[in-house]
Subunit: 274 residues, 4 copies
């Protein structure tokens, strides 16, 4: 039925505007969307400030309705522009788009759920899709690649840290006890992580000499083992760089990632002309 | 006598299940054990939360008795499965297994010692033995090797930091005195370490201008010297990587530092025999 | 007209003193200026301390007037010494010089604006111009180059961190609510950044178990992702170093990466012509 | 006169014991001294704890007199053991030795100066002289060399950070004012350094939205620029390693620090036999 109403021509034009970011119309659409998203987040933020809500509640409500309508139109347009819209609807961005549009409607029906509007902050993630088109893509990819290649080691590291925090947190609970704020083991583990990561809120602090001694060991450990993720990522970055520096491709076998000073292809032995 | 009761065949089967993690039965046993350990730790944690203990104390007590019986059976099985069980009994894991099984029994005899059950958190360390079989082993080993190779330098560094903290802590005690919370030298040293490691609880803070000036110097030192462990570990990681890469030398032109997957010398194009 | 009053000879001499730092007179002028700037900043600092202002207010006022007159004379001299003074007047340093001279005069006319004198702290930036002449220039340039070359990646990183903080800050506002100090979304975002950067003031702390759990995730993230800027800058520094080292290639065997002070090829012993 | 009393033979023996750490007697003397120093510091620490001083004041006083006498004897022995003792008396360690011996005597004459005894903590620095003989010397030297070679860059960095903190501290004083705890500019600068170094005590925290916004910028800066010292030191460590790895010395011209894969001396072109 839908197919009957919307002409293929119109769908194509919509598709160009909404999904093809390298056309002028697409670029404009993306920037306009980014602008509306930022406005919508600023509005949600301002509404959470009691004094502003009391003074300008009406203006904020109007703004939010306008944004909700714009988001609704965008959501419909995104579905209409695709021949097979299910892929979009159940994609990550599709679900976020829906979730950031619905809260205002839900709020009319079930007034207590207005806080759901905060989900809108997730729409900021769309910025990355918009940035994909810019010079940032290379930098982002290199960062991601470096992190992904170190991910097993980082996982082992984080796992060790978590076990360590469970053991040390339990120890601190036994040493300090509920009187010093270490009311139970989960709270003690929370405190241990606060301390090991060198955040140190100070909402809970050890008061017994033994507790302070164990704290000191936790702190020095935290101060030292931060070297591990840093070292892993740095080593990965350095390797990435040296591998990416020679951009030549072998004319014979198509191999790339040659060494900087390579004269011959490492794969087929073909001579490379610098 | 034991030998008479337990057949060698049964012992062998038990050994396969308990100690050989690369068989299906062994793998299942390890995962089941891991599951029980996690349940036991969650139970200990929940029991430490007063409100939960008051509501579900009975269920938690039952769970802990079941876990204690399971751990007891496991401990007996581990001993039975070995011809010479003394190695296990006095090994690191053997002692932890015993210590995490006993507390519940001790609690019946001497009620005041129930807190010993927290020792169970140490059982989490067994996770590493289970992980030994997975892909994590390589990553863990590389991390450990890097840390071990830097250990003399890290020891020198930590030693310097500790001496520094003793001297600066004493200085802060003289400057600030008991009125500002620097009640004695050990507490001042505790504060100095809290500050130098950039944790900064804020339970004790300098109030005199001179004390604040010295604090500023301690902070900047702490901010700067964190570079030392980080630099050591990073340099070690980078060296590990380059050592693990291709150590071949071209038989024709003597060039080295070939790529891992090189078939031909990058310098002269000579064929490399792997 | 000006040209008529001030002889070219006098202007040249002034120029040598004020702008040419590598002459004895210029060097003396720079150091004297630096001394006056430091005195002026110390005076502003001391005046902000209530107890000192009450005791030595008169002396400080006199000092500040003397400094203001010196700065006025310097500003006039700088303009006079140049044939085309507009470049200086609208340069970064020209504007700072004017802004740090004016406040005292403005204070006479409009007494409420005395705090503008704090702008003087910006004059400290002139230190960098004075240092330009010293051995520090190389080090500064290398630092700046390394930071500039990593700037796209650092921007992507900071951008990701900010989006993350907006999303996590909103989440913490929903979880904790105004009772725990998370009074509105902007404050929650402020708290998230305080936590992610491992500063951890402790003025606002989560009190609900779920809030503490999310905090723990934020802290571990903050503890881990500090590796990214560190890794980027370190990789850049290392590349700078290797690029600044010897770029010569042996004319006989094509080997590169010679030592800085190499006379002979390390690979074939051929003489290298520098 | 002294020469008449003390025989050259006795002086030589004393010298071997006190100054030559690689003989058995010297080694024993060093370890005994280290033991006494640690005891003396523990005694000073314990005396600063009010509850312990009240209970065991007498025992501590006796211990301190014994230590003072031992230090006095050591100081005299050190002077006697040298033919020209002035070098020692006015050396760094000589002055510390004197300063850590005198306080107890001064305390008898002028009771109010008892706190001077804390100077004894400086004696711990002697540990480094004792360690000089062990395997730690290489590690310490490498750390020191790396730090020294980066020292100009680290100085430029610290200098920039200090100027930044003065400017940002003044800004925060203007924004927040005395009501929020930013009572004067020096205190605001102290707060800025506490925040930039990610220590974050929380004794002073911004309360105005603008102040929190500037704080957020300070924190992110602090989180980011820690990369600079880390990067500098890491790059230096990596260079040290690659330079120190080949320990060969050219048999012809005595040049060292050859490249790992060197076949010929970089300095004279002589063939190196691996």
């Amino acid at each position: 039925m839908k197919k009957g109403i919307i002409s293929d021509d119109f769908r194509k034009k919509l598709h160009v505007i909404i999904y093809e970011a390298d056309t002028p119309a697409g670029r404009f659409f993306d920037l306009a969307l980014l602008f509306v998203i930022i406005i919508s987040i600023v509005a949600v933020m301002l509404e959470s400030v009691t004094s502003i809500r009391l003074l300008h509640g009406k203006e904020l409500a109007v703004t939010e309705w306008i944004i909700t309508i714009l988001f609704t139109l965008e959501y419909i347009a995104r579905i209409v522009a695709l021949k097979k819209p299910l892929n979009y609807i159940f994609s990550f961005y599709g679900i976020i788009d829906l979730l950031s549009t619905l809260p205002k409607y839900i709020d009319v029906l079930f007034p207590g759920l207005g806080f759901l509007i905060s989900i809108r902050a997730l729409r900021l993630l769309r910025v990355f899709r918009i940035l994909k088109l810019s010079q940032f893509v290379g930098a982002s990819n290199q960062l991601l690649t470096a992190l992904q290649k170190s991910r097993v080691k980082i996982a082992v590291f984080l796992f060790t840290v978590v076990i360590l925090c469970i053991i040390l947190g339990t120890l601190m609970f036994i040493i300090e006890g509920p009187e010093s704020g270490f009311t139970n083991i989960p709270v003690s583990i929370y405190w241990t992580i606060v301390t090991l990561t060198t955040v140190g809120f100070g909402d809970i602090t050890p008061v017994t000499p033994l507790g302070q001694f164990v704290s000191v060991i936790i702190m020095i450990m935290g101060y030292g083992i931060i070297a591990v993720p840093t070292g892993l990522v740095t080593a990965q970055f350095i390797q990435e760089r040296s591998e990416n520096s020679n951009t030549q491709v072998c004319p014979n076998c198509n191999a790339d990632h040659h060494k900087d000073n390579a004269n011959y292809c490492y794969n087929c032995g073909h001579h490379l002309h610098n």
